[in-house]
Symmetry: C2
Subunit: 126 residues, 2 copies
């Protein structure tokens, strides 16, 4: 398990009121993988309402929608998928996270080295 | 104002239960600048209780404290300051953020270019 640390998560504030944070990135990825807003939200322990709210923010915040829902479309009973722009934005977010882990490796390693070794998993706020 | 965008904020999960996110980074900076946990929390619209909880998490999560409180010390009625380790960790967090903005510039610019131009400031969740 420890091989996956440090993990870096990003919040990018693109303009006042337009932010791409870990929740939106994971939701985009979940929709891409499950084809469903409900299933993507469930996987993230996110309420259906919250998942839809984030989809709405994403679709309103950019010059084209990032997610399209297939009400009555080819998918039949709904379903959702990323648009080309949605796929591009998800890929760029993941690329930035990967870049960080490589370019900031020395700083990340220095932080990791000072973590208490016998600490118990606990709160993860702030 | 737009010159300050995109802003990048980081959450680094160093180990299970040990995360450094924007709240902790800003709190460390606030304590360094104000010499007070209460004043730092207030500046961040953070309750005193939450500020103290984050200080506790920071001090328990690393192999030395990051913040020392000066009860009865030279500061008289309390006060707080970063330890050497606290200063080092804050500096590394800010260095990583700066690195991101420069190394991920092309991806960040590409994201910014697709933000809707007439959007109203709104929710900033996820």
């Amino acid at each position: 398990m420890t091989g996956e640390f440090p993990k870096v998560r990003l919040r990018i504030v693109l303009a006042p009121g337009i932010a791409l944070g870990p929740g939106k990135a994971d939701l985009l990825q979940g929709i891409a993988e499950t084809g469903s807003i409900r299933a993507a939200g469930r996987r993230l322990s996110m309420s259906y309402k919250r998942a839809w709210n984030l989809v709405g923010e994403l679709n309103r915040g950019f010059d084209e929608p990032l997610i399209e829902t297939g009400k009555g479309g080819a998918g039949g009973g709904g379903g959702a998928r990323l648009t080309g722009l949605g796929e591009e934005i998800l890929a760029r977010l993941r690329a930035i996270e990967t870049t960080i882990v490589s370019t900031a490796e020395a700083d990340l390693d220095a932080l990791s080295a000072r973590v208490k070794k016998d600490v118990e998993p606990g709160a993860d706020s702030g």
